[in-house]
């Protein structure tokens, strides 16, 4: 047995002990209640059933970890309860005693599990098993089960003497309480209190949330300190003035005393006396202010101390709470060997799985979120990463493929790599898939380098698999992988080499906990940008913004970087100009995998530590916003989704340049594209017709799929925009019909629908729609842009 296996077995035994303890408690409680005979026959039957199940479960668990003694004891118990269930065995005090004895023995055996001391109790257990069998045998012999006395007599005759036939050390130890029939109480040693407690993760999470809420108190307290310090500093200005004023005061005092000495007239004297009083009051005033300053200083110092103590306590509590919710990767990776074995066997491939670093711990919430992406990546490796044995042999590789999963700690992060030694991702296939999807213009696709091209595999709809299989090929998986990983504040990248394999690298934070964020202000709203995506914060003069190819850019390290207005990207109403053009513009340069865009904000407020929180179940996914955080003042600020922001900014830029392009095409009398709009709602039809006509299309409408079919006989459409839910023939069927038609099969179809679910989206892709726009996010720019790409 390797060390690893030994360690695993040890962990398993610990788990088993916890589980067994519960089963045992269940049986004990049930048995005690059964013995009291207070319940109705029905309830008793239920109790027997419960105990039977517990014994059965424990037997199974014991067998799994090779605890033969426990297994055989449970088997005996199970037999008794099976008989009790059928009412084939009368319940006598004797039987209860025996059963309790068995439970005690089980508790003892359990305490020894993993401690290697099982030997001395074995004889006792064997004997108990024998006695259980005896009871069962007796039951068979007793013809009339109602005659309790007979059974009891039988038991006493047959069971009690039994121990004497064993000459074992147990007798000497006197631990066989078979005299219980005479009312003696069992005094088997109690097992020690378990040193683990099972607490539902819900409850733990709620405690963690409360601990996290203390962060707000911590932030607020450090803010208080800052406020007090600045109040303290305000005295400095007064002091300066006071010192500056001193000569004047001195001068006044001097004239006052001189006047008294010279003996001037009473009026002047009176005035001078008043002046002296005022001067005295000034001195008193200054003393009062100074003492106030001193007091404030003292208070500030104690507040600072309190704040530090509070901060430390909150941090410790939070760290400990996070530790509680830390789990080793093993708990996630343990499921993989079986999945890999089963899946690879199903598709007839020979695949080995190697796992390293599974003992590294990470926040449980991250592990949970990681499950789907990990499964998806592993399936990818199996389904189209690793080639079939024949293919591999032809390439001169070993027949069997290998998937390597490695967990590596990286400072405060963890790197998880999923690597296969398969055929690698075909860059040409990605290129054609990107072309097919049409999100990148054709001429641009040709210029993409390998790394840029590879980044597209994470895009929704890009698949290199020629067929859609049960396991993968829909082109949605990797998009989901990236989204989930990014949501946790991680990154995912891919490397591939022809015939030597593909490696997915996921870098994750250790806890969902706090991360550094940049707090920015737009109008009256505050937003947080995760610092990991902030490449730079800048202040530049307005005249440094240059327009290149009709787009605003700034120069960064000698390279032009596009400039976008964050408020516009977030679809916030344009705020009134806050500052003159002479003032500096504040901007944040955001970067995600080689794309850099500068975003103009009204103010960069501060850098801060933030705790990421989800937006709740109703806001399942919001464009450009990944979550929220609670600021020091208790207010909530949205945390922005940087990858989304870059996409939105690029899209807006494309759209604005597209609008510029429309003007030029307006001059040439080129044939206008003909659109078929299919929708059962007259409002939608009218609306779409208006939008499309003003965007330069000719529009024909149809009320449902059937109607659309007839329209096709008279027109040659360049594109179809269809609703999904319609009477007679819905959008899916219409799309399928178009795809099935020899002449029409290449006409692009855009589905516009209220069905936002992933399944519907997949269904849309399945039937061959080119785009799927959800009505809730229905704005005309989106539709027009998609249509522009398609025709």
């Amino acid at each position: 047995m390797t060390d690893k296996e030994a360690a695993f077995l040890k962990r398993l035994l610990v788990t088993f002990k916890i589980e067994a303890q519960e089963h045992l408690q269940g049986m004990c409680a049930g048995l005690l209640r059964l013995e009291k005979k207070e319940d109705s026959a029905e309830e008793r039957a239920e109790l027997v059933e419960i105990i039977f199940r517990e014994a059965h479960s424990l037997k199974g668990a014991a067998r799994a970890v090779n605890q033969v003694e426990i297994e055989s004891l449970c088997q005996g118990l199970e037999g008794i309860f099976a008989a009790l269930k059928k009412n084939a065995l009368p319940t006598s005090a004797l039987i209860f005693d025996l059963l309790q004895e068995v439970l005690d023995s089980l508790a003892l055996a359990l305490a020894d599990v993993g401690a290697g001391r099982t030997h001395k109790n074995k004889a006792l257990q064997r004997q108990l098993v024998r006695r259980l069998e005896e009871v069962m045998r007796l039951k068979m012999a007793v013809e009339v089960p109602d005659t309790l006395t007979d059974v009891e007599a039988g038991l006493q005759e047959n069971v009690v003497p039994l121990p004497t036939s064993f000459d074992t050390p147990i007798q000497e130890q006197g631990t066989i309480p078979h005299h219980s029939a005479y009312g003696e109480q069992n005094v088997a040693p109690h097992p020690a209190m378990p040193d683990t407690v099972r607490v539902s993760t819900d409850r733990l999470t709620s405690v963690l949330l409360q601990a996290e809420d203390l962060l707000a108190a911590k932030f607020a307290s450090s803010q208080r300190v800052l406020d007090m310090r600045s109040a303290s500093a305000a005295f400095g200005a007064w002091k300066k003035e006071w010192v500056r004023f001193q000569p004047v005061l001195q001068e006044l005092k001097r004239t006052g005393t001189r006047g008294e000495a010279c003996g001037q007239n009473s009026d002047t004297l009176e005035l001078q006396r008043s002046l002296t009083r005022v001067l005295d009051f000034m001195d008193w005033n200054s003393d009062a202010i100074m003492s106030l300053e001193a007091r404030l200083k003292v208070e500030t110092t104690s507040t600072e101390r309190d704040s530090r103590v509070l901060g430390g306590m909150v941090n410790n509590l939070l760290d400990d709470m996070k530790q509680v919710l830390m789990f080793p990767f093993a708990s996630l990776l343990e499921i993989l060997p079986k999945i890999v074995r089963d899946l690879s066997r199903d598709i007839g491939k020979n695949i080995e799985l190697e796992i390293r670093g599974e003992d590294i711990e990470i926040d449980r919430r991250i592990l949970e979120e990681l499950k789907d992406p990990l499964l998806h990546l592993v399936r990818n490796c199996i389904d189209h990463g690793i080639e079939s044995s024949a293919e591999r042999l032809a390439k001169g590789k070993q027949a069997g493929g290998t998937i390597r999963i490695t967990v590596l700690p990286l400072d405060d992060k963890v790197e998880l790599t999923i690597a296969d030694d398969g055929g690698g991702i075909s860059l040409e296939a990605v290129r054609s898939a990107v072309l097919k999807l049409g999100t990148v213009q054709g001429d641009k696709v040709a210029t993409l380098d390998d790394q840029e091209l590879l980044a597209h595999v994470f895009q929704s709809g890009v698949t290199t698999s020629p067929i859609i299989t049960e396991i993968s090929g829909r082109g949605l998986g990797l998009a989901i992988v990236r989204e989930k990983v990014e949501k946790m504040g991680g990154t995912v990248t891919v490397e591939t080499a022809p015939d030597s394999g593909t490696t997915f690298r996921i870098v994750l934070p250790l806890t969902v906990a706090t991360f550094r964020g940049i707090l920015v202000r737009l109008g009256g709203n505050l937003f947080v940008l995760p610092a990991m995506h902030v490449a730079r914060v800048l202040r530049i003069k307005a005249e440094e913004v240059k327009t290149v190819e009709n787009r605003e850019t700034i120069s960064l390290d000698g390279e032009p970087v596009s400039l976008a207005r964050l408020a516009a990207v977030l679809e916030l109403p344009a705020p009134p100009a806050e500052r003159g053009a002479s003032e500096l513009l504040q901007m944040v340069v955001l970067s995600v995998s080689n794309t850099r865009i500068a975003f103009l904000v009204d103010e960069i407020v501060s850098e801060l530590e933030v705790l990421h929180k989800g937006l709740g179940r109703q806001l399942s996914r919001v464009r450009n916003v990944v979550g929220a955080t609670v600021l020091g003042n208790g207010r909530v600020a949205p945390v922005l989704n940087v990858p989304d922001l870059l996409k939105s900014a690029i899209r807006m830029a494309d759209f604005s340049s597209l609008r510029g392009g429309d003007n030029t095409t307006g001059d040439s009398p080129a044939r206008r594209n003909l659109v078929l709009v299919v929708d059962d709602s007259i409002t939608t039809r009218t609306l779409l017709k208006n939008i499309l006509e003003s965007a330069g299309y000719d529009v024909v409408t149809a009320v449902d799929g059937i109607d659309a079919g007839t329209k096709f006989t008279n027109h040659r459409f360049d594109i179809v925009v269809s609703d999904v839910e319609m009477p007679r023939m819905n959008g899916f069927d219409l799309t399928a019909a178009i795809r099935a038609d020899k002449v029409l099969k290449d006409v692009p179809v855009v589905l516009v629908t209220a069905l936002a679910s992933r399944e519907h989206q997949e269904r849309g892709i399945d039937v061959g729609a080119n785009a799927y726009i959800v009505k809730s996010r229905f704005d005309q720019s989106n539709l027009l842009e998609v249509m522009k790409k398609l025709v």
Binding site: R198, L570, G616, R617, V622, R623, A628, V630, V636
Partner: protein, 179 residues
């Protein structure tokens, strides 16, 4: 600790059995108690509405609402509810009611059915009371579209009782948008 084979299965089964037995008992014909439901009555844009209290986990003050950009108009924003972020929805947008704007009197009714959770904006909470389901009229012809979709019934006092379950399970409420 992680879940190990749940021994609750049987207990659950027993509980379910008991419930089934309890449900199988025929209700008394005159049973006035059985058709009573507890409702929370609230004011929304000068109209009275009510929701069954079983769908309401709590009611709280609306303060420090943070609007979330790029969300549909019916999503007012989010609030911090004891460390959890809760989204708040404005039914007025659905019901085409006049938008009165927010005031400090505004309340949030937290709807929760175990699957979905969000807050509903209300102007004033009038209170909790019992009403008889039998007295509820199916609908009013003036209630159109979405308001009719969410309707449980209209009481004798013309109080519109909304179906909390339907509101919670309506997929139109869920925001799930990609860029």
């Amino acid at each position: 600790m992680r879940e190990i084979t749940p021994p609750e299965n049987d207990i659950q089964r027993i509980i379910l059995k008991k419930r089934a037995a309890a449900l199988a008992v025929e209700p008394k014909e005159d049973g006035t108690e059985n058709d009573l439901i507890e409702i929370v009555e609230f004011l929304l844009a000068d109209e009275y509405y009510a929701i069954e209290s079983v769908f309401i986990s709590e009611v709280c003050h609306l303060k420090d609402l943070t609007p979330i950009p790029c969300t549909p108009a019916f999503v007012l924003g989010v609030i911090n509810l004891r460390g959890t972020i809760l989204s708040v929805i404005d039914l007025r947008t659905f019901f085409e009611l006049p938008n009165k704007g927010l005031s400090d009197l505004n309340k949030v009714i937290v709807l929760n059915d175990g699957v979905m959770e969000f807050g509903l904006l209300a102007d004033v909470i009038r209170g909790v009371r019992l009403i008889s389901v039998k007295t509820l009229q199916p609908s009013l012809p003036t209630l159109t579209n979405i308001r009719a979709d969410y309707l449980k019934g209209v009481s004798e006092e013309r109080l519109v009782v909304l179906d909390g379950g339907k509101i919670l399970s309506d997929q139109r409420m869920v925001v799930h948008e990609d860029v």
